[in-house]
C-alpha cells in the first residue's frame, strides 16, 4: 500500500515517523491511509485532466493570438453546441469520481468502528491544560490505575479510549494509530484503537487549548500483550520510595498537587508521579526523561514551558537535587 502511494508522490519518501498519518501502525490509521491513497489517485487524475485542458486552452490562445472572435456570433454558437454536449459528460465524470470516493469514505468510516463490540481493555484519557491524565481499568480490581502522558497499548488488541476533558476542549491524536477525536467538556467520546506495529509513537493535542497547546504531547508505546501486562502490573503497584531528604521535601513542597501512591502524596491537580521515572518524557512530551531534565524542570518550569501550571518552587539547591534524585528512583 505504501509503495503504491509512493509511486504517486515521490516526495512522500521519508514522511514516516513517530507522528505521521503516512506511516500507519494500527488498523484504524491503516484504513484511513488506504482511503487517503485512493483519494490521491483520483485527485491526481483529476488534476492532470484539468491541467491538460488548461494547457490546451492556452495553446489555442497562443495559436490564435491577436484575433478577435467577438463579432463572429455564428461560429461561437456552433462551438457552444458542441461544448454543451460535453457538459453532461464532465458532470457525469465528476459524479462518478465522487461516488467512488463517497463509497470508499463510507467503508473507511465503518472500518473505524468495526471493533466497537469487543474492546479488550478500557482506558480513560482526560485532557487537562496541558497534560493527559491516563487511567487504565484494572482487570483485577476493576479500579483505575492512574498514570500520565504516556499510553501503553497491547499489540493486536482493541483498546477503548474513553476521552473526556477537565477544563477546555482538547483533541486526542496519535496519527500512526488512529485519527483524532475531540475531548469535550460535557461529553464522553469513545475511540477504539487496534495497534499492530511494535514501537514508540507520539501523539499531540490537536485542538487549540490555550497558551501551551504546543507542549501537550503524549508518548505511545505499542508492546506485546505480555509486556503490556507486566507494565500494567508494575504501574498498579505502589511506589517503593527510598525514605530520605528528597521524599521529605517532596511531601511538603509537591504533594499538594502530585500523588505518589505508597508514599502518602495524594494531590490530584497535577500528573500522578508514582512511576514517573519509568516514563519516556516529562511535562507532556516537552523533555526527555533524564535525571538532569527532571532537576531542570523542577528548577525552571516557567522557562521551559511558559504558562504551565507547574509552579517554580523555591528550593535550596540541595533540596532540589534531593527531590530530583528521589523522583529518579520512582520507576
Amino acid at each position: 500500500m505504501k509503495a503504491r502511494l509512493l509511486a504517486v508522490c515521490p516526495l512522500l519518501h521519508g514522511c514516516g515517523g513517530v507522528q505521521s498519518a503516512l506511516d500507519p501502525g494500527g488498523d484504524q490509521a491503516r484504513a484511513l491511509f488506504s482511503l487517503f491513497a485512493l483519494m490521491m489517485w483520483v485527485s491526481g487524475v483529476v488534476y492532470v485532466v484539468v491541467a491538460g485542458a488548461l494547457s490546451w486552452a492556452l495553446w489555442r490562445a497562443w495559436r490564435y493570438r491577436g484575433a478577435d472572435s467577438r463579432a463572429d456570433g455564428g461560429m461561437t454558437l456552433r462551438i457552444d453546441r458542441r461544448l454543451a454536449q460535453l457538459l453532461p459528460l464532465a458532470a457525469g465524470a465528476i459524479i462518478l469520481g465522487l461516488t467512488v470516493l463517497i463509497t470508499a469514505s463510507f467503508f473507511a468510516d465503518r472500518a473505524l468502528f468495526a471493533t466497537r463490540a469487543s474492546p479488550a481493555l478500557e482506558v480513560r484519557v482526560t485532557g487537562h491544560q496541558w497534560w493527559w491524565r491516563i487511567q487504565y481499568r484494572d482487570p483485577v480490581s476493576y479500579g483505575w490505575v492512574e498514570t500520565a502522558n504516556e499510553l501503553h497499548l497491547p499489540q493486536g488488541q482493541t483498546v477503548r479510549l474513553v476521552l473526556g476533558a477537565a477544563d477546555v476542549i482538547h483533541s486526542f491524536w496519535v496519527p500512526n494509530v488512529a485519527g483524532k477525536l475531540d475531548m469535550i467538556p460535557g461529553r464522553t467520546n469513545l475511540l477504539d484503537v487496534t495497534a499492530r506495529r511494535l514501537g514508540w509513537y507520539r501523539g499531540q493535542c490537536a485542538e487549540f487549548c490555550g497558551t501551551q497547546h504546543a507542549h501537550m504531547a503524549l508518548a505511545v508505546k505499542v508492546e506485546s500483550p505480555a509486556a503490556f501486562r507486566a507494565w500494567l502490573a508494575a504501574q498498579r503497584a505502589p511506589a517503593t520510595p527510598a525514605a530520605g531528604r528528597g521524599a521529605a521535601v517532596f511531601q511538603v513542597a509537591c504533594a499538594a498537587c502530585h500523588a505518589i501512591r505508597g508514599a502518602g502524596a495524594a494531590g490530584r491537580a497535577g500528573p500522578d508521579l508514582t512511576h514517573v521515572a519509568a516514563r519516556r518524557s516529562l511535562a507532556a512530551g516537552t523533555l526527555t526523561m533524564t535525571r538532569g531534565n527532571l532537576q531542570g524542570w523542577i528548577a525552571q518550569p516557567q522557562a521551559i514551558k511558559p504558562g504551565t501550571s507547574m509552579p517554580q518552587i523555591p528550593l535550596t539547591p540541595a533540596d532540589a537535587d534531593a527531590v530530583a534524585t528521589y523522583l529518579a528512583t520512582l520507576r
Binding site: C15, G17, A21, L22, A31, L32, F36, S43, V46, Y47, V50, A51, A53, L54, A57, L58, R60, A61, Y64, R65, D68, S69, R70, G73, T76, D80, L83, L87, A90, I94, I95, L101, S105, A108, D109, L163, D167, V168, I169, S171, W173, P175, K180, L181, D182, I184, P185, G186, R187, N189, C205, A206, F208, C209, T211, Q212, H213, A214, A217, P306
Partner: protein, 629 residues
C-alpha cells in the same frame, strides 16, 4: 450623439459632494465608499500578511525563540480574524458596492446612506481589533474562539470580548451592505436587463449577499451568547448547568461554512467577467454558471457539520455530510469546465487579469481536491486541525478568492483610476505571488500528514518538520515580496500609468460604457439592455432619458423583467450615517464592560437614526399640530 456639456454640468451640480473634510465624512458616493473599503482592506491584508511572515519565521526551526506562546497565539488569532472578517468579506462587499451600480448603469446604490454606514461601522470593527492590539490587548484564541476556552473562566479580561464585538461590528456592516446589494440588483436593473440577461457577476453578488443575510445572524447570535456568558453569567456553554459547548460550534459553523462561499462566489463573478472579456467571446454556459452559483449557495447551508467531524457526533450524519460536502465539487467542477471551455474556444488575450484567472484555476483546483479529502468524515479525522487543513483553506481562500480578487483589481483598475497598470510589473507580481504561494503552502499538506498540528508555536527537534517549514517560510516571503510589487505597481500607475480611456480591454458590460474614471453620477443616461454583452452587440449605447438632472434620482424597475416602475429620490450626502455608526460603536464598545451600555447606548442610536430618516418636508398645514400663522 454624446452627452452634451450642459447635461454633465447639471448632473455634476446635483451629485457633487461638499468639499473637504465635511465631504469626506458625509459622502454617499458608492465609488468613494468602496475605495475606502478597498484601501482599508489592502492595508489590513498587508499587516496581517506581515504577521503571517513573522509566524513563518518562528516555525522555520524547531524550538525557535523568536516568539513565545502568548505572542504566537495572538499573532495567529489576529491574522485569522483580520483575514476572514476584516479583509476577505469586506473586500468582496467593496467590489459589489463599487461595481453593482456601474454594471447596472445606475447612479448609486439603492440605499446610499446605508452604504456609508456600512463602511463606518466596518471601520469601527477594524479599529476595535487593531487599536486593542496596539494597546497589547489582543485576542489570543484563534479566529473561532471555542468555549469553554473563550468562556469567563479560561479567558479572563476583555481579549475575547474584543474579538466577539469586532465580529458584531463587521457582521452588522456586512448585513447592511448585503441588503443594499440585494435591493439594488433586484430593483434597480436597467430597463431590459431581465434576470436572464443579468451578467454572472451580478448573480454572484446577489447570491453571496443573500447567503450573508441568512448566515451572519448565526454568528452575531453566538458571539452575543458568548459575551453574555462572560458578562452576565449566563450558562449557554456550561455543560454542568445544562449548557452545551457544541452549541457554539454548530452556530459558528452554520455561519462559518457559508462564509467561505460568501468569499468564493463573488470571486467566481470576477473570473466570469475577466474570462469573457479576455477570451473575446460570450461566456460559454452562462446558465450553467448561474445555476452552479445557486447550487453552491444552497448546498453551503447543508454542510457546516464537516467542520466538526472530530467532535464525535452521531455517525448517522457522517455519510450525509460527507456526500453533501463532496457534492459541492459538481457545480464547482462545471464552473471550471465552462471557464476553460470559454478560454479554449475564444481568442484569448493573456493580459494580467487573465493571468490571475489561470493562476486561480491551477491553484484553486488543488484546494478543491484537498477539500474533497477533508470532506470525508473518516479521512478528516487525520486531516482536520493539522497543517493539511491550513494548506487546504489557504489554497481555497487565497487561490480561490484572493487571486481572482487581484485579477479583478487589475481588470477594473483602469475603470477606477482612468489609467492602466504596468503589464510588466503586473506579470512580475503575478509570478512572485502565485509561485511563492504554492511554494509556501504546498509543503504544508505534507506537514499535516506528518502530524504537525495547527496553532503550535513551536515543535521539538527530530520531528522531521524543519526542512518543509523552511520551504514554506521561503515561499511566503516570496509571496509577500510579490504583494509589495503589486501594491507599488498600483500606486505608481495611479499617477504614471498610461491613460486608459473608456474601455481599454474591449469589455462587453455596462460599467465600461462611460468615462474612466466614472464621474459621481456614473452614466449620463439610463441604458437599455437587450443582451448579455451590450457593448459588443451594438456600436451605440441605447439609452433612455428622463431621470432627473437637477436632483439625485434613480430609476426603479421590476424584479424579474426590469420594466421601469417609478423614479426614486436618491439620498444626498449626510453626516447621520457617520454619527449613527459612532453611536453604535459607543454601544458595542460599552457592552464589553457593562450590560447597561446596551440600554444607555440605545438612546444616542435612536437619536442618530431619527436624524438619518427624518424626512425633509414642509411643516403641516393640516391636523392638530399644524403650523398656525
Amino acid at each position: 450623439m454624446t452627452p452634451d456639456l450642459d447635461r454633465r454640468d447639471r448632473l455634476a451640480l446635483a451629485w457633487r459632494d461638499p468639499p473637504g473634510w465635511w465631504g469626506f465624512l458625509t459622502t454617499v458616493d458608492h465609488k468613494r465608499i468602496a475605495a475606502r473599503y478597498i484601501v482599508t482592506a489592502v492595508l489590513l491584508l498587508f499587516l496581517a500578511g506581515l504577521l503571517a511572515l513573522d509566524m513563518r519565521w518562528q516555525l522555520s526551526w524547531a524550538e525557535n525563540t523568536r516568539m513565545g506562546p502568548q505572542l504566537y497565539n495572538e499573532s495567529f488569532s489576529l491574522h485569522g480574524s483580520t483575514m476572514l472578517f476584516l479583509v476577505s468579506v469586506p473586500a468582496m462587499e467593496a467590489m459589489a458596492l463599487w461595481l453593482v451600480p456601474l454594471m447596472l448603469g445606475q447612479r448609486n446604490m439603492a440605499f446610499p446612506r446605508l452604504g456609508a454606514f456600512s463602511y463606518w461601522l466596518y471601520l469601527g470593527g477594524v479599529l476595535t481589533l487593531w487599536v486593542a492590539h496596539a494597546l497589547d490587548v489582543t485576542p489570543d484564541l484563534g479566529w473561532f474562539e471555542y468555549p469553554p476556552l473563550s468562556g469567563p473562566t479560561y479567558a479572563p479580561g476583555h481579549r475575547a470580548d474584543i474579538w466577539a464585538q469586532m465580529i458584531t461590528f463587521t457582521e452588522v456592516a456586512a448585513l447592511c451592505a448585503s441588503v443594499n446589494v440585494v435591493a439594488t440588483i433586484l430593483k434597480m436593473r436597467p430597463p431590459g436587463m431581465t434576470l436572464a440577461r443579468m451578467p454572472v457577476f451580478l448573480w454572484a453578488m446577489l447570491v453571496a449577499s443573500l447567503m450573508t443575510i441568512l448566515s451572519m445572524p448565526a454568528i452575531m447570535l453566538v458571539t452575543s451568547m458568548l459575551i453574555a456568558d462572560r458578562l452576565v453569567s449566563t450558562h449557554f456553554f456550561a455543560p454542568a448547568a445544562h449548557g452545551d459547548v457544541l452549541l457554539f460550534q454548530h452556530l459558528f459553523w452554520f455561519f462559518g461554512h457559508p462564509e467561505v462561499y460568501i468569499i468564493f462566489i463573488p470571486a467566481t463573478g470576477f473570473v466570469s467577467s475577466i474570462v469573457e472579456t479576455f477570451a473575446r467571446r460570450r461566456l460559454f454556459g452562462h446558465h450553467v454558471l448561474v445555476l452552479a452559483i445557486l447550487a453552491i449557495g444552497c448546498l453551503a447551508f447543508g454542510l457546516w457539520v464537516h467542520h466538526m467531524f472530530a467532535v464525535g457526533l452521531p455517525r448517522l450524519g457522517n455519510d450525509f455530510y460527507t456526500a453533501a460536502s463532496m457534492a459541492i465539487a459538481v457545480p464547482a467542477g462545471l464552473q471550471i469546465f465552462c471557464w476553460i471551455a470559454t478560454i479554449a474556444t475564444g481568442r484569448t488575450w493573456l493580459a494580467t487579469p487573465m493571468l490571475w484567472v489561470l493562476g486561480f484555476v491551477a491553484t484553486f483546483v488543488l484546494g478543491g481536491l484537498s477539500g474533497v479529502m477533508t470532506a470525508s468524515a473518516a479521512l478528516d479525522l487525520q486531516l482536520t486541525d493539522s497543517y493539511f487543513v491550513v494548506a487546504h483553506f489557504h489554497y481555497v481562500l487565497v487561490g480561490g478568492a484572493m487571486f481572482p480578487l487581484f485579477g479583478a483589481f487589475c481588470y477594473w483598475y483602469p475603470k477606477a483610476t482612468g489609467r492602466l497598470m504596468s503589464e510588466r510589473w503586473g506579470r512580475v507580481a503575478f509570478a512572485l505571488i502565485v509561485g511563492g504561494f504554492n511554494l509556501g503552502f504546498a509543503p504544508m499538506h505534507l506537514l499535516g500528514l506528518m502530524g504537525m498540528p495547527r496553532r503550535v508555536y513551536t515543535y521539538p527537534a527530530g520531528m522531521g518538520w524543519d526542512a518543509l517549514n523552511q520551504v514554506a517560510t521561503l515561499g511566503s516571503a516570496i509571496a509577500v515580496a510579490g504583494g509589495l510589487v503589486f501594491v507599488a505597481n498600483a500606486l505608481l500607475s495611479y499617477s504614471r500609468g498610461a491613460p486608459a480611456g473608456a474601455n481599454p480591454w474591449g469589455a462587453p458590460t455596462l460599467e465600461w460604457a462611460g468615462d474612466s474614471p466614472s464621474p459621481p453620477w456614473n452614466l449620463a443616461y439610463t441604458p437599455v439592455v437587450d443582451s448579455l454583452t451590450p457593448l459588443w452587440d451594438s456600436p451605440v449605447l441605447r439609452v433612455m432619458d428622463g431621470v432627473a438632472l437637477e436632483r439625485r434620482e434613480v430609476v426603479v424597475t421590476s424584479v424579474v423583467d426590469a420594466a421601469p416602475l417609478y423614479r426614486q429620490k436618491s439620498a444626498s450626502p449626510s453626516i447621520w450615517p457617520f454619527v449613527a455608526a459612532l453611536a453604535v460603536t459607543a454601544m458595542f464598545l460599552g457592552s464589553i464592560f457593562t450590560p447597561w451600555a446596551i440600554a444607555a447606548g440605545a438612546l444616542p442610536i435612536a437619536a442618530a437614526l431619527t436624524g438619518w430618516f427624518w424626512p425633509q418636508r414642509e411643516r403641516a398645514t393640516t391636523g392638530p399640530l399644524r403650523v398656525r400663522s
